[in-house]
């Protein structure tokens, strides 16, 4: 919670702006009775990077299959580890959303051990220095790890946000997902800019 407060304080200036935008966005959502409006709205007034990332984070949940050993909660938790770059955006994005009849919730976790109940864990770039330890701690859990820190997938992370031509894109590490027992939809792989596999021959760029 202190992290949230910190980050909140850190992004204080941008937050009021973001809230204003959010109101517009929500109105657009209601009008279009559509939950993926950010993509659409993005073309009208270019959305902020973390707004797109928040939507992507939630969308990943729709293209990934978790193994049976994953938590059987009623909720589908999207967690943020480290300094929170989303702020209220994430909470707004997942509000009233469900995946596989599970209610989406946004959670902030302080340490990797707290992430066991999470389906998706966004690791903030503030954790770059401790990334190997974090990933090692999550090794036996079925948590989809996402980060925008450079070199994330080489550390063994699963999805890494990258910026290409001013657009938010992502890279996928299939070796890590296989290990974690997660299955990626080919649809997701199709739009990934880079897919890391165990064998070098598996490298595919769709």
């Amino acid at each position: 919670m202190s992290l949230v407060c910190l980050s909140g304080r850190a992004y204080f200036g941008r937050r009021t702006q973001a809230l204003r935008w959010l109101a517009v966005f929500l109105a657009a959502c209601a009008a279009a009775s559509l939950n993926l409006a950010p993509v659409a709205a993005a073309q009208k007034s270019e959305p902020k990077e973390y707004e797109v990332k928040a939507v992507y984070l939630y969308n990943f949940g729709r293209f990934v299959q978790w193994p049976d050993r994953a938590t059987k909660d009623d909720t589908f938790a999207v967690c943020v580890l480290g300094s929170d770059p989303f702020g209220a955006i994430l909470d707004a994005t997942v509000a009233n959303e469900t995946i596989d009849n599970r209610k989406l919730v946004a959670r902030r976790v302080a340490k990797p051990g707290d992430a066991a109940g999470c389906r998706i864990l966004f690791i903030s770039s503030s954790e770059t220095r401790r990334i190997e330890a974090i990933l090692a701690a999550l090794q036996n859990s079925s948590v989809l790890t996402v980060s925008d820190m450079p070199g994330f997938i080489t550390y063994g992370g699963m999805i890494q946000f990258v910026l290409a031509e001013n657009k938010v894109r992502f890279q996928v590490n299939l070796a890590a997902t296989d290990k974690a027992g997660l299955t990626f939809s080919s649809q997701l792989l199709k739009v990934a800019t880079y897919i890391k596999r165990e064998s070098p021959a598996g490298n595919v760029n769709p």
Partner: protein, 597 residues
């Protein structure tokens, strides 16, 4: 005959071809139409499936905003040659990706489309267009729009047309062959019948019979009925010929000349007697050739009357002379009557010419005879009339001789008696001085003279004579004949009257009552004698009819009527035989104008 045969079999063939062609065409067209509708539905379904495939492949590019990936997906449409265009729109109807690739973004095509419509399709510029919502896990993530040309439909239509025409051609050829084969069963007996019918009508030979087919169908019935009809015609034909022969025999054996002609007056047939009398040939008589045997003097009147009869359809009756083979004319009474059909239209004229020359002669002889008889009667009457004054003269001469002192007075009286004799003689002469031409006749005077001739008879029977014939009533006519008319009627009245009977004679100016205003004189002779029985009222005008068995010749009234008719006058009879009130009245009307010659 060849033409008929051709046309009947042609008709049957054409009928077969048309029937099978139409049936086939209807079947094929409905089948193909059904197939085309199904095919169209299939086309829409295929397009819908294509749209779904594109849509489901576009889900992640849409959700992760990767148009390039979507275009890569769309590029797979290259394998479907009929897809000419496809594009993907974001839920907010912004262009996302398109096919063929590298095109300018196009606006959303269907403004009123909403997501809950799911899918819509329509025709657009000869293309199928379809629009479909892309949904993913219950969320509408975009819209796919796809257009297909109708090449598939057209190629299908083309192959259908080829199939249809091949089937039609093959079937019609088969139908042609089959109908050629089968029509013989139907047409052969009919053609045989037609042959027979042609033979009959060509040769007028009603003894031939149509061959039976041996079947029991309608054609066989027709053959049977035809043969029955032929038999009937044969019977009637021979009956007609017999009747015709009898008629000719009859027509040729009658003493009259007879002829027939059409409603237009063209005479087509004359009996043998005509040719014998006129010495002409059928060729000379054709049409209106009969005019050559007429007297040119009477021909115009004959033609006028004949044309009038043709125009009105009224029976024709006229007396005119016809020239015989010897060049001499004889008088003929010609009568012609129209023969009408069931519809009352004239189909022919039948006429006869009866030679009345002999009749005319005997009538003339009769007239002379009656004249002589009348003269005889008159002579007796005159003898009586003259006898009286002669006796008086004889007495007066005797008295004059005996009484010389009174000679002057007696001679004067004798002179008066002789004057009377002279008067009687003069009146008598009037009967014989028949004028050649009509002259003015004083009816009053003639009546007075005739009555004076019968004075003694009237006196003898003590008949009460009341006469009122005025003076100076004059007409133009033949005095001798008028005198005879009056004499006959008065003599008849005297004969009919009993002793002390009453005779009234009245003459007055009058007009004829027969429609035409003809001035003239009416003379009435009324007696209260025995009257004329109703059954005798027409007979008394016929020659040789008399009720006065001992004294009459039966010619008086017949002659009287003839004379009145000659003067274009009329004679009417009224009579009563009621017991106690018997009377008879003759009304003579004589016109003022001169009678024609």
């Amino acid at each position: 005959m060849m033409k008929l045969r051709d046309s009947l079999s042609k008709k049957l063939t054409v009928m077969n071809m048309v029937v099978s062609g139409v049936a086939l065409l209807l079947a094929s067209v409905s089948f193909f139409a059904y197939d085309l509708i199904t095919f169209r539905e299939n086309l829409i379904n295929n397009l819908s499936v294509q749209a779904q495939i594109i849509g489901s492949n576009a889900v992640s590019p849409l959700m992760f905003n990767d148009p390039q990936s979507a275009e890569n997906t769309l590029a797979a449409l290259h394998a479907s040659p009929h897809i000419v265009y496809a594009s993907i729109y974001t839920p907010s109807r912004d262009f996302f990706a398109g096919y063929p690739p590298a095109q300018t973004p196009s606006a959303f095509p269907l403004a009123d489309f909403t997501f809950n419509q799911g899918e819509r399709h329509w025709f657009e510029n000869g293309q199928f267009a379809l629009i479909q919502t892309i949904s993913f896990q219950g969320k509408n993530v975009g819209i796919v729009y796809i257009r297909s040309d109708l090449g598939a439909l057209y190629s299908r239509l083309k192959s259908y047309a080829i199939i249809l025409f091949s089937i039609l051609a093959a079937s019609l050829i088969a139908a042609l062959a089959l109908s050629r084969l089968l029509q013989r069963v139907v047409s052969k007996p009919i053609l045989n019948l037609a042959d027979t019918a042609g033979l009959v009508s060509r040769n007028k030979d009603y003894s031939v019979r149509a061959r039976s087919t041996g079947d029991h169908d309608e054609v066989a019935l027709m053959v049977e009925a035809f043969n029955g009809m032929l038999l009937e015609i044969q019977k009637r034909d021979s009956a007609l010929q017999e009747s015709e022969r009898q008629f000719r025999t009859l027509a040729d054996s009658i003493p009259q000349m007879a002829w027939m002609g059409g409603p237009d007056g063209n005479l087509t047939w004359y009996n043998q007697r005509w040719y014998e009398y006129t010495g002409t040939s059928p060729e000379q008589m054709a049409g209106w050739g009969w005019q050559s045997v007429h007297d040119p003097k009477t021909l115009p009147a004959v033609l006028e009357k004949w044309r009038g009869a043709l125009a009105t359809g009224a029976p024709f009756e006229m007396i005119f002379p016809l020239r015989g083979a010897d060049g001499a004319f004889r008088e003929f009474l010609t009568r012609a009557v129209p023969v009408r059909d069931a519809g009352d239209a004239i189909v022919l004229w039948f006429g006869t010419n009866t030679d009345i020359t002999e009749q005319r002669r005997s009538e003339e002889a009769l007239r002379q005879t009656e004249k002589l008889a009348a003269t005889g009667r008159l002579a007796a009457s005159i003898a009586h009339e003259i006898n009286n004054p002669l006796e008086a003269v004889t007495n007066l001469v005797y008295l004059a001789r005996r009484q010389p002192s009174n000679v002057g007075r007696y001679l004067t009286m004798a002179d008066q008696e002789l004057d009377r004799i002279a008067q009687i003689t003069k009146n008598t002469l009037g009967f014989y001085r028949d004028s050649v031409s009509a002259t003015e006749v004083d009816i009053s005077q003639v009546l007075a003279e005739v009555i004076s001739l019968y004075e003694r008879k009237l006196h003898f029977k003590r008949i009460n004579l009341r006469s009122d014939y005025g003076t100076g009533i004059k007409i133009t006519g033949f005095p001798g004949e008028i005198r005879q008319i009056f004499a006959n009627l008065i003599a008849n009245a005297i004969d009919a009257l009993p002793v002390q009977g009453c005779l009234t004679i009245r003459a007055s100016q009058a007009c004829a009552r027969d429609g035409v205003d003809r001035p003239g004189v009416r003379i009435a002779f009324m007696d209260n004698g025995s009257g004329v029985a109703p059954e005798n009222r027409t007979k008394i005008f016929q020659p040789f009819f008399t009720t006065k068995k001992d004294v009459g010749t039966g010619l008086g009234l017949w002659l009287t009527l003839g004379l009145i008719t000659k003067h274009r006058g009329s004679l009417r009879l009224r009579s009563s035989v009621a017991p106690g009130r018997t009377w008879t009245a003759f009304f003579v009307f004589l016109p003022q104008e001169p009678p024609s010659n």
